[in-house]
Symmetry: C2
Subunit: 333 residues, 2 copies
């Protein structure tokens, strides 16, 4: 295979985050499950927006956040995701390109508007998300550029792609192309409720070796195997997939590979402002290490470092140069 | 006169801020005057946006920021400003109403889009602004609700209203109504270059007693009197207007009234992240004190406190409850 042109190509929902601070009562009153992502229709999107406080708008989307984090770490990256040609969509495209990511998915000219996620941040820094998928519904296999997939060392996908109706076909198509080109296919399980919606299919992706590397946090892992016992779940995960990383917030992460399991500590954080993007940026750091052949521990530490940066400010995109941070912490040359 | 229904009614340009971090070179390369506001047309707006880094969008506008700060301090507030009925305009309307401000100016159905300000924040926390006025151009005297103006204890206006073509007529009309109802009219000089564009008219507003209270920072004051000598400028200001407040960044402020001048210190700040909104929030704190009859020093300290909050995060709207902060600092009951 020729040398890859991109280190990581991500495919995911292209979403603009609408972030507001809130209190616990608001979540209760509006029937939200704290810390998770719920899909909402346009009517509920309007009702939530009407009720929520003053907001800031910033580009988001789980895989898109990861890809921007990778670019901030100096990786060569590309993204595929569906926006509409409206002002939110143009902001999304501007932000991801301004971060140095190749992004050329054709925007939808008509149909629903660019996807929005209402992110409600409670005083403890935890975020609760409500996503209106909008134009992200229209990601089709035709949006996948086969040549670009084959030219990327790692293909990174999100479980959330199972929610829009045609995106899973695009996902499978891309994974096939990647494997034909002897590339690595990685998947984040996205969210415990997303896992609950698509458990059987996610397990099939793993067991059929459609994916090579899984990113999951503890609640996603418990949801996947419907067990409250962490060790039981880890054992099942090890049997089902070639490699996996389980993130455990301030407890760090477990890197599970063919040669064994390594526990890697988190980076200390002074004050958690907003956990939005913690998992996304962890994946960014980890994949940046993987792309340049770093060992498991270095990959895990890079993930922890990027996650630590993003939870200390509002929004899921890095504010500091992650490459500079990595250098200061001896995690890159 | 009947008791006022609002403590402060603000009239200003309704603007959405598009904020990005940048470096000094970017400002030089694009011919920007650091720390000031430049008016730009649509073509330059596109060129700047194209060139600038990833951004966040948040509601802004100088007077609008002040009014939201006042609401956060528990004052009863209203705002008049022109948006278009587009997604940025709807975000502006949502954010100001969600902050508790009465806002009912009819949005423009057609014509230019909602005003945007490209705010470039350098590593020292200083911000350089480029404003595309868009729909704000269409603020007319017909947008002024005479009954609402008469029912507001303080009318607060911005020098920036001299830039859109019809807004100054709305300004004069509102000031007349306010004075007929024995209310106070306050004006911020907005920006040194704005003062340079409209020096004679601003001096006329002061000398004709169309305005009762002036807010200015040092560079605006120097620009107004075209002198580099601070004391000379202050002396001229004292002669030209009934009352004034001159803000001096970390040196605090001077409160100039009929009975004399009082210097009030600033609040210490750990780290300046983004100075956007510092003057706006100072005015919010000061006017909140004035509305409840506090002494000059308390008004100045409230201004300093609100300014200190807003410069410690990105964006020009308060993130913390200013009323709680004021209480913790013994500046309110």
């Amino acid at each position: 295979m020729p040398a890859p042109r991109y280190d990581v190509l991500g495919i995911g929902n292209a979403i603009v985050d609408v972030i507001a601070r809130t209190d616990e009562d608001f979540l209760l009153k509006h029937g939200m499950n704290k810390g998770t992502m719920a899909l909402i229709d346009e009517a509920r999107a309007s009702a939530i927006y009407e009720a929520m406080g003053p907001a800031i708008e910033t580009s988001g989307g789980s895989v898109a956040n990861t890809i921007v984090g990778l670019a901030s770490l100096g990786a060569r990256t590309a993204f595929v995701g569906k926006i509409k040609d409206d002002s939110l969509g143009r902001a999304f495209a501007h932000d991801i390109r301004a971060a140095g990511v190749a992004f050329s998915t054709r925007p939808a000219a008509r149909g629903p508007s660019t996807a929005r996620c209402y992110v409600l941040v409670t005083p403890d820094g935890e975020r609760t998300m409500n996503t209106y998928l909008g134009a992200a519904q229209d990601l089709h296999p035709a949006d996948i550029d086969a040549e670009m997939v084959a030219a990327s060392a790692i293909l990174y996908l999100e479980g959330y792609l199972w929610d829009p109706k045609n995106a899973k076909d695009a996902f499978i198509e891309a994974a096939k192309i990647a494997h034909a080109a002897e590339r690595t296919v990685a998947l984040t399980l996205s969210d415990a409720f997303c896992v609950d919606r698509w458990r059987a299919e996610f397990l099939h992706l793993m067991r059929s070796r459609t994916v090579d590397l899984i990113f999951a946090n503890e609640s996603e892992l418990h949801s996947l195997y419907q067990t409250a016992d962490f060790d039981t779940a880890v054992k099942a995960l090890r049997a089902d997939v070639g490699a996996a990383v389980v993130t455990r917030s301030e407890k760090g992460c477990l890197v599970i590979g063919p040669e064994g399991t390594e526990a890697v500590p988190a980076f200390p954080v002074e004050r958690v402002v907003d956990t939005t993007g913690a998992g996304d940026l962890f994946a960014a750091g980890f994949l940046a290490g993987l792309a340049r052949g770093a060992d498991d521990r270095t990959c895990g530490r890079l993930g922890a470092l990027a996650a630590a940066e993003v939870i200390q400010h509002l929004g899921a995109r890095p504010e500091a140069s992650l490459q500079d941070l990595a250098r200061e912490n001896g995690l890159t040359d």
